[in-house]
């Protein structure tokens, strides 16, 4: 449990580090950073004098470290500030769009893990076969062709030419916004485009790790004592090879979130990525930074979770 506890304790300074970096970027943004914390609707009805008093009371005239602490205090209460565009609270804007993003990224990630690992393991078990060569070359394409180009190609072929799939949004206007056929049809292209580079990544990893495990001494021992090949593979090869996958998923997460910005923008998928892109184009800094902060915290928590899971399943790490 030592390992897990250490990771948990370490997460606290890292969380603070994330807030420091975000605060530095907030201060790079043009304009007064903490005005974003005052509800702009209230600001209009107050006199300049009153606002100045408010600034003093809020500590806006304090030195930067003090302002950081004040900002952190607000953050701890869940106040991410207000949008400069529509005066809405950033937190509720993000929370509103989170389900759409989660549906997109979680589906893409799951698809990528299942397909990538299956193909990678198969490739390793048939090393040097034609299949292996073709897949290896394909993984190069998978990590090299930009997601947005893949998305455009997909749109052109399946939506414009063949007219099989819709181009924009999550549902056709008028359709019920539930989990239905319409949603699935809308999701196929964005999910696939987002998943392809990840499939390639997981495939490379699974192939290399399986090959690595196949050559390990304990596998030779397992074979030597006469174990059936299927038992050797399941119990000795796959277990060693695929355990670190937990960590790899954690490392892939920032890339998936970054990719979702592009994909949601192209397909007008009403998630956090599209919200973030719109905020960047409209110079709505509180929204941008709220999203960046939230994404970083999600990645941190996900990495923490993978570490904890890893510590629980791998005794070597637990007793390190």
């Amino acid at each position: 449990m030592n390992f897990i506890l250490r990771r948990l304790v370490l997460a606290v300074p890292m969380l603070l580090g994330i807030t420091v970096i975000t605060f530095v970027i907030i201060n790079l943004a043009p304009g007064d950073p903490i005005t974003a914390l005052i509800n702009p609707l209230e600001m209009n009805v107050r006199s300049a004098d009153e606002i100045e008093r408010q600034r003093e009371a809020l500590g806006l005239n304090d030195p930067i470290p003090v302002r950081y602490l004040l900002w952190l205090k607000e953050l701890a209460t869940g106040n991410l500030g207000y949008s400069l565009q529509n005066k809405e609270a950033v937190r509720s804007m993000i929370l509103d769009r989170l389900p759409a993003s989660l549906a997109l990224t979680a589906t893409a990630l799951t698809l990528a893990i299942v397909v990538g690992v299956t193909l990678g393991v198969y490739s390793a078990l048939h090393q040097y076969s034609i299949f292996d060569y073709v897949l290896t070359i394909l993984t190069f394409f998978g990590v090299s062709v930009p997601v947005f180009f893949m998305a455009l190609l997909g749109m052109y072929v399946f939506s414009v030419r063949l007219q099989w799939l819709p181009v924009f949004g999550m549902w056709t206007p008028g359709e019920p916004t539930t989990f239905n056929r319409d949603l699935i049809k809308h999701a196929i292209l964005p999910v696939t485009a987002l998943a392809i580079p990840q499939i390639a990544g997981f495939m490379r990893y699974a192939r290399a790790a399986t090959l690595d495990a196949l050559g390990a001494d304990h596998v030779t021992t397992a074979r030597a004592k006469g174990l059936r090949e299927s038992a050797v593979l399941w119990r000795h090869v796959f277990r060693t090879a695929l355990l670190p996958l937990v960590t790899i998923v954690g490392l892939a997460l920032p890339h998936v979130i970054g990719g979702s910005f592009v994909i949601e923008t192209i397909f007008s998928w009403p998630g956090v990525g599209l919200l973030g892109y719109t905020a960047i184009m409209q110079r709505d800094y509180p929204v941008q930074l709220g999203i960046a902060l939230m994404a970083a915290v999600v990645v941190l928590l996900a990495n923490l979770a993978t570490d904890v899971v890893y510590g629980m399943v791998d005794p070597r790490i637990r007793y390190e």
């Binding site: 190069f140 090299s144 947005f148 455009l152 990893y205 690595d212 920032p254 941008q288 994404a295």
Partner: protein, 307 residues
């Protein structure tokens, strides 16, 4: 998106070495594979060189001025005069793709140069000094790694204003984490080796050992990381410009030409407008990835001995 190749590619190396002794293969097959691998690397290098030459000599090769508007030839499909067609103000796409390479490739090279330098300094300091310096620098690296790099780059370029200098600077500022971890790991291994002990034993000072004995051994891994990094940086610039946040009109970059395809009508009716720059990006990134992969094999002493 950006450092994808870098993060994932590492285990392949071990697999490459192990492959030789685990699965019995005929010598012919093995040669074929090695040949193919290096063929890919060579092909990658040639493609990158051609694209670079095309960009450098664009003014000589290109049949037109990249920004010359020709209203008599608006949105023409490819023909004998305009090999890749024209855009909505009659500019020649072939010319713009050639010139676009200047921006896209130089962003790739310069940004990667910048972040390899940052990553090298941070990684070398952490690995060589160890102790609290190492602890501090590595925790900082992990914190930066939590942020989705592409999102931070988008935000910062949005704040600083979209131009090529800012794009290079921001990619450089956030791309170094992978390199720092790589360098630190290598330094940790190297400093335990006998030749380093020997260098210290004859009275070599810290900096002397670092510069003369450790750094030369980092050239290989850094070259590999840089060529894979170029692939990532080209992708990032293309993504930014595609979203309208990198290089903006009228300056052509591969991403900014593709930006026009975000208009559904253009996407549907003028595929020549976005297929060519998209193919150019894919080709350049593919070439850089091939090159990096081949270089990794080439720099790997053990697998070189085996082959």
């Amino acid at each position: 998106m950006s450092s994808h190749g870098l993060d994932r590619a590492v285990p392949n190396q071990a697999a490459g070495q192990l492959a030789e002794r685990t699965v019995p293969v005929s010598p012919g097959r093995r040669t074929l594979r090695r040949f193919l691998r290096h063929r890919l690397a060579v092909t990658g290098a040639i493609i990158l060189a051609l694209l670079t030459l095309g960009a450098v000599f664009a003014p000589i090769i290109a049949p037109y001025d990249p920004n010359a508007i020709n209203l008599t030839k608006i949105s023409q499909p490819p023909d004998r005069e305009n090999w890749l067609g024209t855009d909505r103000v009659g500019r020649d796409i072939f010319t713009r793709v050639l010139y676009g390479g200047r921006i896209s490739l130089s962003v790739g090279f310069v940004a990667v140069g910048l972040y390899v330098a940052i990553g090298f300094v941070i990684g070398a300091l952490a690995g060589y000094l160890g102790g609290w310096v190492d602890n501090l620098l590595m925790r900082f690296t992990e914190i930066v790694m939590c942020f989705p790099t592409f999102v931070l780059i988008l935000i910062l370029v949005g704040m600083l204003g979209p131009n090529i200098g800012n794009v290079i600077l921001v990619i450089g500022l956030f791309g170094w984490t992978g390199v720092a971890r790589l360098v630190r790991g290598q330094v940790l291994q190297l400093r335990e080796l006998d030749f380093v002990t020997a260098a210290r034993a004859i009275g070599g000072r810290r900096w002397y050992v670092m510069v003369r004995h450790i750094t030369p051994n980092l050239v290989g891994p850094l070259t590999v990381a840089a060529s894979l990094g170029i692939a990532g940086a080209i992708l990032t610039e293309a993504g930014l410009s595609f979203l309208g946040l990198g290089v903006t009109q009228p300056t052509p970059s591969w991403g900014s030409i593709l930006n026009e395809a975000r208009n559904p009508a253009t996407l549907a009716t003028q595929p020549w407008l976005w297929l060519a720059p998209g193919a150019a990006i894919s080709l350049a990134v593919l070439a850089a990835n091939f090159l990096g992969d081949g270089l990794r094999d080439a720099f790997d002493v053990k697998s070189r001995a085996a082959g």
